[in-house]
Symmetry: C2
Subunit: 392 residues, 2 copies
C-alpha cells in the first residue's frame, strides 16, 4: 500500500425528505445569500427545484439563480456565475442537479474570490480559496457531490477541457434524496451506473501490490452496482435500488476506493476523445472503451483480472489457465452492460473505425498526451490498438 | 435503507513517514500550543513519542504533556488535562497512542471551553464546542481516531462509565503509520482485530432491510481483517498486513458501515459487564460473548446469518436448511478467533458460570438497562441465556 492523504469532509444528508434541511445546512456552513446553479427542466419536473426553494425560503436565505447549465459544462456559464455572485454579494453556491451543475458551481466557487481568470485554476495554478459549495443531488453518476474535482470545457479554443483536482473542490454538504432519481430515463440511469462502475474500475486496476482493503471495498461497491442498476431499470421507482446506486456512486468517486494505490484512468482518457467527436454519453463511451482496454492490457497482470472476474462477477476460477477466467470476466462485463441497455460497439455510438487515426491524432495534440494510464502506459499505438478492438 | 447523516471530516495522513507531517497538520488546524496526551512507555519504545516531538519542534509549536493514561481511561486524567490546558493556554490537543489516549483527549477537548464539569457531557447534555483534537495512532483497534465517540470511566462512583457520541468528537486529523503497530504483542494485535471485527458485526446484524451497499462494505472489511490479522501475527513486521488492519480498523468505526441501518451493540453491552468484573481485554470479552449472542439470536433472521457465513467465511450454502449454514458461520468465527489466539470460553477469561446472576444484576442497576440491542431486544432472561451459552 502506498502512502496517502484522504480528506472527505463533506456532510451527507441522505434519504427521502432530507432536502428539507437544505436551508439549514446552507446556514450551518455560513451561507447568507445563495447562488442556485442548475441545468434544464428536470429539477423543475422532479420537484427538486421547488423543494430547494422552499427550504431556502423557510431558512430565510435569499438567492439568485443560474439555470441552463448543459451536459459537459462550459466556461460561459462559469463566467456568468462569477459575475452574478459578485454583483449580488453571494457567499454560498448551491448546485441542484448532477455533475454538470456541481462542476459549474465548483468552478464559480474558486473564481469569485480570484482577481484573474478562473481558467487559470484549470490550466496552471492551484486555487487557495473558494466560496463554499453545497449540493442537492438529483442524478447518480459522476460522484461530483463529494469528489475533489471539476471538469469544465473552455469555449472558443476548440473546446479544450480542463480537469482540476484538489480537496478545496469538495462540497461542504450534499443532500442526497434517491427519490429524485426515480424519474430518470432508463438510458440515463444505465449511463450513470456505467460511469460509477468505471470510476471504481479505474482505481481497481492498479500496478500497486498489497491493496487488499481497498480491493475489497471496490469489489463490494461494484457488486452493489451490478445488482442495483438492473433493479432500478426493472422498476424505476424502486427506492432501495436508487438509494444503493446513489450512495455507491458517491463512494465510487470520493476516492475511498483509490487511496494507497496507483490509479489508471486510461479508459476515461480514451473515452473523452469519443465523446468529443461523437457527442455520445460519457457512460456509453466508457461501455465501449473499457472492455477493449481490459482485453488489451490484461496480460500485464492476469491474476488481477482473474480476481476481478471471480470476486465481482462470480466466474469460476480456471486455476490452470487463469487467462480464461480473466477473459470470462470481460465477457460477463459486456453481457451486463448490454443487459442494462448500454452500447458496447463502435457502431452503436455512431463511431467509425476509419476515424481512429483522427481520434489518436486529436489526443496527440495535447501537451504530454502520451503515454497515459497508471496501470500500464498507453502510447499512441496502444490507443490505436484499443480503439481497433473496440471497433470490431 | 433508513435516512442518515454521515459526516467524517477527519483528514487522514496514512503511511510510513507521515508522522513527519504532524506539526504541519497541527498548524493547519489552527494549533499554536499543544497538549500531548499519551499512555505508558510503548510510544517511547516504538518511536512515536520522539517522532511527534521532533515534528512539533520542527514546526515551532511548543507543547506540554499529559502521560500515564491507562486502558479504560479514567476521569482523573481528564480533569488533570483540562486544568493543564487552561493553565498553559493550550489550543490544540494531540493524542499519541490508541483509544485510551484519544478518548481522554476528546473528553479534555470539550471540557476546556466549558465552565461546568466535563462529565455533564457524558451524562446529561451535548457539547457544543471543543478544542480541536489530532491523533498520532499507534494501535489498530478502537477506531477512535475517526469515530464520533469517547468512553470514559468516572472514578469514585463505583467506576461508572459514560459513552458519548457526536460529530464534535471526530478528530480533525489522524496520522496513521502502520509501522508503529509492528511492535505490538501478539495478544494485543489479536484483541484489536477482534474489536474492529466486532465494530462491523454490531452494524452488520440489523433488522433494517435493503441495506445492500453497506452489507457489501461490511463484508469486504471483515474479509480484510480475517486475512490480515493472521498475517500480522505470523510476521509482526508485515507492513501491508498492518496497513490493512489500521485502515480497516478506522473504517470499522467511523460509521461508514453503519449508515442507513439500525445497529445492534448487544455484544458490546454484555462484554462491558465481563471486562468490568474480570478486567479482561475488551477484544477477549467480545470473542467470548459474540458467538454466544449469534447462536442465541440467529433464529430471528436465519437468512442474514447464512449470508454472513457464505459471504464472509465462504461457507457452502445449505439451500434447504439455511440454519446449518448460519451455524457453520458461527463455528468458523470461533475457529478463526482461536486461530489468532483469542479466548472463546468463559474459563479462559477467568469468568465463572456462577457469576452470571451477578453480571445480569449489575447491568440491571443502570437506568434503562433492559432491553438493549438493536437487532433484537435483549431482556434480562436473554442476557442470562447468552451468558449461559458463553459459559458452556
Amino acid at each position: 500500500m502506498n502512502n496517502f492523504t484522504f480528506y472527505s469532509p463533506t456532510l451527507f444528508a441522505f434519504g427521502d425528505g432530507e432536502e428539507q434541511n437544505t436551508g439549514a445546512l446552507v446556514r450551518r456552513f455560513g451561507g447568507t445569500k445563495v447562488l442556485m446553479v442548475y441545468g434544464g427542466g428536470s429539477i423543475k419536473r422532479n420537484g427538486a427545484y421547488d423543494d430547494a426553494a422552499a427550504s431556502l425560503r423557510a431558512a430565510g436565505i435569499p438567492w439568485v439563480e443560474l439555470g441552463g447549465v448543459q451536459p459537459n459544462p462550459r466556461s460561459g456559464k462559469v463566467y456568468e456565475g462569477i459575475e452574478l455572485c459578485r454583483r449580488e454579494g453571494v457567499d454560498f453556491i448551491l448546485a441542484v442537479g448532477g455533475g454538470s451543475a456541481i462542476d459549474t458551481a465548483k468552478a464559480i466557487g474558486v473564481g469569485v474570490p480570484y482577481d484573474g481568470d478562473f481558467w487559470d485554476f484549470f490550466s496552471k495554478q492551484a486555487a487557495e480559496k473558494t466560496v463554499p459549495v453545497g449540493v442537492v443531488l438529483t442524478l447518480s453518476a459522476t460522484g461530483s457531490e463529494a469528489s475533489d474535482s471539476s471538469v469544465i470545457t473552455l469555449e472558443g479554443e476548440n473546446l479544450k477541457w480542463g480537469n482540476i483536482k484538489s480537496d478545496i473542490y469538495r462540497p461542504v454538504f450534499a443532500v442526497m434524496n434517491p427519490r429524485y432519481t426515480c424519474s430518470l430515463p432508463a438510458y440515463q440511469t444505465a449511463s450513470g451506473a456505467t460511469d460509477m462502475l468505471s470510476h471504481i474500475m479505474e482505481r481497481y486496476f492498479t500496478p500497486t501490490e498489497h491493496v487488499d482493503v481497498t480491493d475489497r471495498l471496490c469489489e463490494g461497491l461494484m457488486k452493489t452496482i451490478l445488482t442495483a442498476a438492473p433493479k432500478a431499470l426493472a422498476d424505476p421507482s424502486d427506492y432501495n435500488a436508487r438509494a444503493d446506486l446513489m450512495w455507491a456512486g458517491m463512494l465510487a468517486h470520493n476516492n475511498l476506493c483509490g487511496v494507497g494505490r496507483r490509479q489508471d484512468w486510461a479508459s476515461h482518457q480514451i473515452e473523452h476523445e469519443l465523446s468529443a467527436l461523437y457527442d455520445c454519453a460519457h457512460g456509453a463511451g466508457l461501455a465501449v472503451v473499457t472492455p477493449a482496454w481490459m482485453t488489451y492490457v490484461m496480460d500485464r497482470d492476469i491474476a488481477r483480472f482473474a480476481q476481478f472476474a471471480v470476486r465481482v462477477f462470480g466466474c469460476e476460477m480456471d486455476f490452470h489457465q487463469p487467462e480464461n477466467t480473466a477473459r470470462a470476466g470481460v465477457e460477463r462485463l459486456v453481457a451486463w452492460l448490454r443487459s442494462i441497455g448500454m452500447p458496447t460497439t463502435f457502431a452503436e455510438i455512431g463511431a467509425r473505425a476509419e476515424d481512429i487515426p483522427a481520434l489518436v491524432a486529436h489526443r496527440a495534440k495535447k501537451p504530454g498526451a502520451f503515454p497515459f494510464g497508471g496501470f500500464t502506459p498507453i502510447h499512441e499505438d496502444d490507443m490505436t490498438a484499443i480503439l481497433e478492438l473496440a471497433a470490431r
